[in-house]
């Protein structure tokens, strides 16, 4: 149970990677570009989280679905995965919509 949240994020990320791989939408289309985007996004949201924690706006919950492992005060391990996942999903969605719009444009 304590691994549920982490497993959900990783699992969802894996599913997105299958879509990404199948249609070459983001990481599987421009690996280096995508990795740079993911790295910048990761740092951006991590800093946002750390500032929010510092301002005491945000704090970790006590859910049984979390491991309880903290990488920093009030920052659960799962959050690192979530941040990466958010950036990845954004990139894949952008590639997906671009592809769909591409095909609609070509069909006309």
């Amino acid at each position: 149970m304590s691994w549920l949240y982490l497993a959900s994020v990783v699992g969802a990320g894996f599913c997105m990677s299958l879509v990404d791989h199948r249609w070459r939408l983001f990481l599987f289309r421009w690996p280096r570009r995508a990795l740079v985007v993911l790295a910048i996004g990761f740092v951006f949201f991590l800093v946002w989280d750390l500032v929010a924690i510092q301002l005491e706006v945000y704090s970790r919950g006590e859910s049984p679905a979390m491991t309880g492992i903290e990488v920093a005060r009030e920052l659960p391990l799962e959050e690192l995965f979530f941040i990466a996942f958010l950036c990845y999903v954004t990139g894949v969605l952008h590639g997906l919509f671009t592809r769909v719009l591409d095909r609609e444009g070509a069909a006309r």
Binding site: A52, E56, V57, Y58, A65, E78, H94
Partner: protein, 107 residues
Amino acid sequence: MTYLGLAAVFTAFTVPLLAVAVVRRRPDRRWWAATGLTALALVVLTAVFDSIMIAADLFRFDEESLTGIHVGLAPIEDFAWPIAATILVSSLLLLLAPAREPAEDRS
């Protein structure tokens, strides 16, 4: 600082990036449409999953720092994340594309 103020500051950081990307690369309507649709999809996902995550007590907010406006259980300030992510990722994709190649190449 309130969570709204914090959200505004970080989201504001992404706007110059968008401006530079758009001015330098002049993306076509397809890029704008894809970016808009991405934002919409992420906002909907946020409304659903943020509420679920809060209900599951994965994280907590200091209630006094919030405006009190919620969508489901999600504080409205949390919607800054999908907006900022969309602007950040979409702008970087434009800027990191090779200068001579169209922003979205067909291959």
